[in-house]
Amino acid sequence: MGDIIQADNLYLAYREDEPIIRGVNLAIKRKDFLFITGKSGSGKSTFLKSIYGEIGVYKGDLRVYNQSLSNISNANRNILRKHIGVIFQDYKLINEWNVEKNVMLPLMIAGYSKQVCKNQAQKLLRHVKLSHKSSRYPLELSGGEQQRVAMARALAHNPKLIIADEPTGNLDEYSSSVIWELLKNVRAHIGSTIVVATHRIPQTLGIDYHQFYLEDGVMHEIS
């Protein structure tokens, strides 16, 4: 099976000559469930951002779906992002839109009809147990509920690659378990590759996974 993500001697930096990620070599295959752990500020989020092109490659190469992210054009980056589902630690919901419309976003971008978008959004909101709050606005929800909405949005277009940055960092046990269950199901049923940056890996995940540890910008494989 081909690699979904491939990093070759990858360097990432926000400032010239101050790389956050240094010389990472990594190959992530289809259906891999991968955890990237490390202390705060170790570069976990930066690495995830590079996968969906929010931060550019400083040195080396990073390929996602065989598309090099070094000097990628805006149009190609947009195409790439349509195939990735992203869950952010701070949710990044659109506060002026209701929950249903937030979940519909990736489907609207993919060009589906309004009815298809609505049906799929409702289905996912049932999965995250929020269908009764579909007309609410994000700021009317708790943090855990907002993260479940963000989760539903990330899965709406059945992406083959899901990136999650501290998806359960600030959540209660119930919301955390809903999120981990959904990620496991998506991997099992759609065959998605899942990359999660987190401080702590849940004890009762019940699946095989890879773990990498980031320290001083260098990535070490643990399992």
């Binding site: 969906y52 929010e54 805006n74 149009a75 980056r77 947009n78 195409i79 790439l80 992002r81 349509k82 992203v86 990044k92 919901l93 659109i94 506060n95 002026e96 839109w97 976003l105 990736p106 609207m108 971008i109």
Partner: protein, 268 residues
Amino acid sequence: MRSLKSHISFIIPLFVLLFSLQFSFMLNRAVKSYETGLVDDYSIVVVSKDDINASDLKIKIPYISSIIEIKKDKYISRLKNDISRADLTYLKATLPKFYSIKLIKLPTDKELKIISDDIKRYKGIKKVETFKQTFNKFHQFLNFAKNASNLFAVFIFFISLLLILKQMEIWTLEHQNRMYVMGLFGAPYWMKSASLYKSVVIDALISAILVGLLFYFMPDFIDIDKIKSDLTLDLNNFRFFSDTFRLILSSLIISVISVTITILRQKD
């Protein structure tokens, strides 16, 4: 409520901007029409010892539209009861020639002096009468009003533009999160900015139509016909379709440029 406030904050400066432009445009149009009437009535009288070659003088002075000789026979014939036939014949033979010169446009003081000096330089010219004082006062006042109005329009334009730029900053704050999140999921430029363009096009249309309606109904509130009869200045020159179309076009151009600047200023 916030959305309504945002619309009004854009519509008001745009309305003022379009109003000042339209007012200035209409005043210019009225003055131009007044000048056309004035130039038809205005002529310079030239006294010359010799015949004037009209085409030659026209080449030398491009401001001239026509040169007509004033026939002196009928004026001389009025004197036939008062002076002898011999004197009348002498008078006819020795009187210089009189010409009426019409111009293609109403000259400024400076232009009139140049024209007058150029005519005087022509062979045989004895006197040039420009009748400057008789037509000049009201025209000068009109020109002053026109220039003041243009200056005022420029001033209003910049003030309104500043308000529009301020509103753009508010838009940037209002829309940047939504556009950023949409971008993270791969939304193209047109999709990210569609709602902004839609809203601004509606505001532009509202502003332009309001200004159009205001000028259309203005004669109902101001006695423009009296101004016309007293001052021969036609301020009732608003052409509903063409002027409203121009207002809409200007409004759309200003709005679309504003919103495009706003969007391009957002970091990708």
